[in-house]
């Protein structure tokens, strides 16, 4: 375990180092040390917060993904596929479309409400007597995503402050304009959520064997589910509020970790967080440097990687 964590930390450190070193403009380290205002501004106020926010968003989505997969006992669960990201985006987008972005904290709060609403909806729709039907789960996610996309488009069509172009930003995801305040918000929330999940990590691990089984071993299943779903929705809401929908991270990362290491939630939680952070940092780096001065949408990269992976998983599980 210690070795695994060390490897992932190293991977993340390398990713961050690369991402900070490269960008649309080439920075000379000498210039930065010499005190060049512009170079410093670019590094400390634009590039660094963006890279760190990317790491936090990636860690968040991976943690939410692992938690949903464990709670729902379904390897295909991920905040985007389930529609939770969509719900958060619909909330955040509607709040923004109607001018509420001016008030601090309102947009993330409404994003959280949207995420919780989506979680509740997908859980209710997919639940059969005492288990969650995997097919219905995926179908519900699909339908909810369609619904939330519609909400976003309509909100911006009706908005007087904005127009339809803004919808793209939410639906495709971008780390453009990342500010230190975003980093602080998501950092704090992620820390709180990880601690909360660490508290119930052992119980979550037992849930993987079934709810009745876990109950017989002294797990307070209801409490664990509330904490698990609540924490995942909260942190997904925050991530989407700052960066829009970036999909498949919550699916890809836990699975890649499982391929290499253990399948136990207590291992997966920290390893996925680190892996997710590294993935998004690298994806954003590619998005920033692939074409000069222009940026490609990061959601597109994760989708390009994630969809074939998802299909192969689907084939294997049938």
């Amino acid at each position: 375990m210690k070795r695994a964590v060390a490897i992932m930390v190293l991977l993340l450190a390398i990713s961050i180092a690369l991402a900070v070193s490269f960008g649309a403009t080439s920075l000379s380290w000498r210039a930065i040390f010499a005190g060049d205002e512009t170079a410093r501004t670019i590094l400390f106020r634009i590039r660094l917060p963006r890279v760190l926010l990317g790491a936090l968003v990636g860690a968040t989505l991976a943690v939410a993904g692992v938690t949903f997969q464990t709670l729902l006992r379904n390897p295909l669960a991920d905040p985007f596929i389930l529609g939770v990201s969509g719900g958060a985006a619909a909330g955040a987008a509607t709040a923004t479309a109607f001018g509420l972005a001016a008030y601090r904290g309102v947009v993330p709060a409404i994003a959280f409400i949207g995420a919780c609403g989506a979680t509740a909806a997908v859980f209710t729709l997919a639940r059969r007597r005492d288990y969650v039907d995997p097919t219905r789960l995926l179908l519900s996610g699909l339908v909810l995503n369609a619904f939330f996309s519609a909400v976003i488009l309509i909100a911006f069509s009706l908005s007087k402050q904005s127009d339809l172009t803004a919808a793209l930003r939410w639906m495709m995801g971008t780390l453009f304009g990342a500010a230190w305040s975003d980093v602080a918000l998501l950092g704090v929330l992620l820390a709180v959520v990880v601690i909360a999940l660490a508290f119930v990590a052992n119980d979550l691990r037992m849930l993987a064997f079934g709810e009745d089984d876990a109950r017989s071993r002294g797990v307070d299943v209801e409490r664990v589910k509330w904490i698990g779903f609540g924490a995942s929705s909260l942190v997904t809401g925050a991530a989407v509020a700052v960066s829009g929908i970036i999909g498949f991270v919550g699916l890809l990362v836990p699975h890649l970790i499982r391929l290499v290491w253990r399948r136990d939630f207590r291992y997966l939680l920290p390893l996925s967080a680190l892996g997710g952070a590294a993935l998004v940092v690298l994806a954003d780096l590619l998005a920033r440097i692939a074409v000069s001065t222009t940026e490609l949408p990061i959601g597109a990269f994760t989708a390009l990687l994630g969809v074939p992976f998802f299909l192969s998983l689907l084939r294997r599980s049938r």
């Binding site: 001016a102 127009d163 172009t165 500010a179 001065t293």
Partner: protein, 278 residues
């Protein structure tokens, strides 16, 4: 050449030439000699071009965004980005004029099904505008159309400037994320006409990175006053420290700057006024 065009026979000859030329392009609907009597314009710049050649009275309907000149406002509206084919048909037009850059797919087949001729007008670049004026005029039976076009061309050229130290200008189209007007676009051409250098070196309408903005701030930043709110601009500038010190940030009249029509001269004049103040 000029005297040839001002004589009636010259004009008829040019129109006939245009008709033959137009007829040879299969996709295009050739203008009828008498010109359309009941036309519908689906783009505000086409509407302005029609009125500029004196053929406004031949329009029986326009899209929702056509608000200039004032006489265009009361005309029946058929829809915005997604024109309503039923409303178009209800106006019993004999011609529909659409812009190649903004018409929705499926328009052509729906109109063909209704047996309404459709003419495409292309105004992607500044240089296309006088030619478009002539074509619109021809469709609407204005024999003088080439004259108007020539005058427009002359007025445009009158705004051409060469500047000793060309200012670097950026035209912002959206702030979050940042999208700008690149080279080889209508707006890009406008900037070059007025002697400015487009701060954006790539073509089309790319997304621009904050880093590049901070590393190489332009001298002037222009933004359309309807699509981009001052608050949005402020947030963009807050996220790109140092740019405010370097650049003048000016809102411009959106409907003048972004419509490739007769008012392009007004846009150029305004831009020159901005650039003349240093």
């Amino acid at each position: 050449m000029r005297s040839f065009i001002t004589r009636p026979s010259g004009r008829v000859f040019v129109c006939a030439l245009l008709l033959t030329f137009a007829a040879c392009r299969e996709k295009e609907t050739p203008p009828s000699l008498a010109g359309s009597q009941r036309a519908v314009s689906l783009a505000p710049n086409i509407t302005e071009l029609a009125f500029a050649v004196g053929a406004g009275k031949r329009l029986v309907g326009t899209d929702d965004f056509s608000d200039n000149p004032p006489a265009a406002k009361p005309l029946p509206k058929v829809g915005g980005t997604q024109p309503n084919v039923e409303k178009i048909i209800a106006l019993k037009p004999d011609l529909v004029l659409a812009s190649t850059s903004s018409a929705p797919p499926g328009l052509e087949s729906s109109l063909r099904a209704a047996h309404i001729p459709l003419a495409w007008i292309k105004t992607d670049r500044l240089a296309d505008v006088p030619g478009a004026m002539t074509i619109v005029g021809a469709h609407l039976g204005v024999l003088d159309a080439p004259v108007y076009a020539a005058r427009l061309r002359k007025d445009i050229d009158a705004q051409r400037r060469q500047r000793a130290h060309p200012p670097r200008v950026m035209f912002v189209v959206w702030t979050n994320p940042l999208y700008v007007a690149g080279r080889e676009t209508f707006v890009g051409d406008l900037l070059e006409l007025c002697g400015a250098t487009n701060a954006v070196t790539v073509n089309s309408w790319p997304q621009y990175s904050l880093e590049s903005l901070v590393a190489n701030p332009p001298d002037v930043i222009l933004y359309p006053n309807l699509s981009v709110k001052p608050q949005a601009m402020k947030e963009l500038l807050d996220a790109a420290p140092g740019v405010r010190d370097h650049a003048r940030v000016i809102a411009v009249e959106e409907n003048v700057f972004v419509r490739p029509g007769p008012r392009v001269v007004e846009a150029a004049r305004a831009l020159n006024a901005i650039l003349d103040q240093r």
